[in-house]
């Protein structure tokens, strides 16, 4: 396993795209604290404030504000057309914002030199079909200005990582979509980037391939690489992400750790006997009660209060045959946030 990534060099001072004063404070770097201990504080991997992209008749991104810390796996969630890919393109300089500010690895988004430290797998992953997979990787080694003595090794490692070792010398034109996506992931990982931006990285993969990609993402986390995972697959986010943001209609509508996003409220199903009808009237403080198929269901209860509820029922003289806590899934929360639940 690779060692954890240390803080990078001094962050660049941010500049304004339009020449006006930047909305974002300069990122901290190489600071010495008041107590005298020298600590290296680095800028967030990604920091945006009210990032906006409007076309003539459409607003693709309304006002995106988010922060992705270094070394975390960040899920970027949203329904189709929410502006996720637009946001990614703005962060990489492939599209130009019409408002707001964005900093990536301490530099204004789109900074040419900073792109050397970023790996990117686009949603529309296509490569020169007339090149072999190995040649595609070598091309990107050249573009990244990696030492030529390492190109062959890096290409071989990348092919191995994404499971294409046997197809390295085949033309990309003959690859399936899944294989091209794997190759794209290999390209994105070249040069040990500090930030890897993956736009729907498993859209063309089978379940085994998806599992493999999750393993790769987890390996990236273990070596301190920041991963910005743009996806609409909630399962993917639940499996690998430390934090996530949900956007809709170009705006962040929720962000935080998965626990924060899902919330601490849950529901619990109980099988209780030995009590008179209406016994729960005195326990309405725990949540909303209902009866479904012979089960008593309490919704909106804090998870930590479930033992208290059980004790209260026992104190009332009830006999509890079963207690089944039901956690809200990310999908439930996602739908709730989008007002579709």
């Amino acid at each position: 396993m690779l060692p954890a990534r240390s803080a990078d060099g001094p962050a660049r001072s941010p500049g304004s795209r339009s020449g006006s004063a930047p909305l974002i404070d300069p990122p901290a770097a190489d600071l010495v604290t008041a107590s005298g201990d020298s600590r290296v504080l680095v800028s967030p991997a990604i920091h945006t404030i009210e990032l906006r992209k409007a076309y003539r008749h459409t607003v693709a991104l309304e006002a995106l504000s988010l922060t992705v810390e270094r070394g975390e796996i960040f899920g970027f969630l949203g329904p189709n057309g929410a502006g996720k890919t637009t946001a990614v393109k703005l962060l990489l300089g492939l599209a130009h914002p019409t408002g707001g500010e964005a900093m990536v690895l301490g530099s204004p988004a789109g900074d040419v030199e900073t792109r050397r430290r970023i790996g990117y797998l686009p949603e529309l992953f296509r490569f020169q079909g007339w090149l072999t997979a190995r040649e595609v990787l070598l091309l990107h080694c050249r573009l990244l200005k990696l030492p030529s003595s390492r190109w062959a090794v890096l290409a071989r490692e990348a092919l191995s990582t994404v499971g294409l070792s046997e197809r390295g010398d085949d033309k990309v034109a003959g690859f399936s979509k899944g294989m091209q996506q794997r190759l794209g992931l290999g390209v994105a990982l070249l040069g040990d980037p500090e930030l890897v931006v993956l736009d729907e990285p498993t859209s063309a993969l089978d379940p085994i391939g998806r599992h493999h990609v999750r393993e790769i993402i987890c390996a990236l986390r273990s070596r301190g690489t920041t991963v910005f995972l743009n996806t609409h697959l909630l399962e993917e986010v639940e499996h690998v992400c430390d934090r996530a943001a949900v956007i809709d209609r170009g705006q962040t509508i929720a962000s935080g750790t998965l626990a924060e996003l899902v919330g601490t409220q849950a529901s619990v199903r109980l099988q209780v006997s030995g009590l008179q009808a209406g016994w729960w009237d005195g326990l309405s403080g725990f949540g909303a009660w209902a009866v479904e198929d012979g089960w008593f269901v309490v919704t909106g209860i804090e998870e930590a209060k479930v033992p208290d509820l059980v004790r209260a029922i026992v104190e009332l003289g009830g006999r509890i045959a079963a207690v089944v806590p039901e956690h809200k899934s990310l999908e439930d929360r996602f739908l709730e946030l989008l007002g579709q639940s």
Partner: protein
Amino acid sequence: MTPTLIIARLTVREAVRRKLVAVLLVLSLATVGLSAWGFDRLAHTHSVTSGEVEIALPQALILFMFMFSFVVALSASAIASPAVSAEVESGVLQTVAARPIRRSEILVGKWLGLALLVAGYSIIVAVLEMLVVDAVSGFLPPNPVAVAVYLFAEGAVLLTLVLAISTRLATLATGVIGVALFGAGWLAGVVGSLGTTFKIPALRVVGDVARYVLPTDGLWHGAIYYLEPSGFVSQRLAEEVGAGGNPFFALSPPSWPYLLYAAIWFLIVFATGVVSFSRREL
């Protein structure tokens, strides 16, 4: 290797891998071979006088070179039209543009690669054709190098325009525009020549304006001039009635001011393409 050279190398490599270079060379070599046979027949015929052969040889060579100039122009348009637009549409360019490379470096690299292909083809075909004609008939234009340079310049002008358009329009539209403009430019040159011959100012203006709007025909006339034999033959050609209206005849080479204008035209169109591509959303 600089990013620009990486892209230029990639562009040339693509043309080779896709067998574009091989196809062009094989077809052109076949054409040159056929022309060798034809020029040999023409030079050694006994049905006309040697003076008539002296006039016919350069005219026939100009016609052959016109065919090659047509191939150069169409090829330049065909390879430049998808150079940016097709890669944007397919998504190939996204992975490249997300690397530490400027948009200007991508476009300059593509232009450089395509220009190398056009230059290579122009020089090889023009020089080969002239050498073959010299070998079988003994006629060699006075300045073969200038012919090859003008042929390349004509292709480079169209290539630059089409590449610039390719930064904004789809491949098919770009290719059609390139071919249509080239054809219109050549035809406007013919119209201008007729205007000169028959003293119709309006037609002459059409030709003059067209040569400034798109300098391909003006530069092609440079190639024609240097294909013509020096001395009395050209003198006789000039004295013929209607010689000025002959689209395959040039009384004089392009003037230095015109060449300077063509260079400025090139720079402006090239810069427009770079700016356009830099602002393009990928």
